[in-house]
Amino acid sequence: MLVNNVRELRARFRWSQQDLADAIEATRQTVGLIEKGDYSPSITLALRIAAAFKLPVEEVFYLKEEDE
């Protein structure tokens, strides 16, 4: 299962969902879906999000075992 730190990172950067959406050229709705874990982004978008936070992608998105 793909999990992410987007909400935490966004809070650390004091960005609103709209700020992040503008930075990655997506909609606020998409940022919300990713944060909730409803939607796993494409590699392109994941890389764009990681670039927005100036972090390697594996620090933003990582796999977690289902039974953990």
Partner: protein, 150 residues
């Protein structure tokens, strides 16, 4: 706000119901045997439809000017309620369409079965089509709403 209104499934629902109503009026005219004789209600109905379409057309032009990246193609076959600006919205549309497909795979046979028990008339058939269509828009809107609450 304008984009929200233009992309609302309510517009398509209204248009769908209005077209069904128009078909009903047309069948009435054909049934009466007097071609081109629309009742006053029919005339008012058709004038309202013309006004609605003109208003919609104007709003689409306004919307396309304000949001050039999210244009609505008036003559295209893609419904305006499809939101496809980015991959998240495309995913929501995919989910909504999937649910609509499931809805139809269950409700179409049920509707066909239900029509067997109603007296055969175009009004009943149109009513059944109207109900199926309303269900489609309801399923689409609810799925959209579910995933849009972020």
């Amino acid at each position: 706000m304008l984009s929200r209104v233009m992309r609302s499934p309510l517009i398509s629902t209204t248009l769908f119901l209005v077209v069904l109503g128009d078909i009903y009026l047309l069948m009435k005219v054909i049934e009466s045997g007097e071609p081109y004789q629309l009742s006053t209600t029919g005339r008012i109905y058709n004038y309202s439809l013309a006004v609605f379409l003109c208003l919609w057309y104007t709003l689409v032009i306004l919307h396309n000017r304000r949001s050039p990246k999210d244009r609505i193609n008036i003559w295209g076959i893609i419904p305006p309620e499809f939101r496809e600006v980015d991959e998240g919205q495309q995913w929501i549309t995919f989910k909504a369409c999937r649910n609509v497909y499931i809805y139809y795979s269950i409700c179409l046979p049920c509707a066909a079965l239900a029509l067997l028990f109603f007296p055969s008339s175009y009004a009943n058939t149109l009513m059944m089509l109207g109900l199926l269509g309303l269900g489609q828009y309801a399923v689409y809107s609810l799925t959209n709403w579910k995933y849009s609450r972020v």
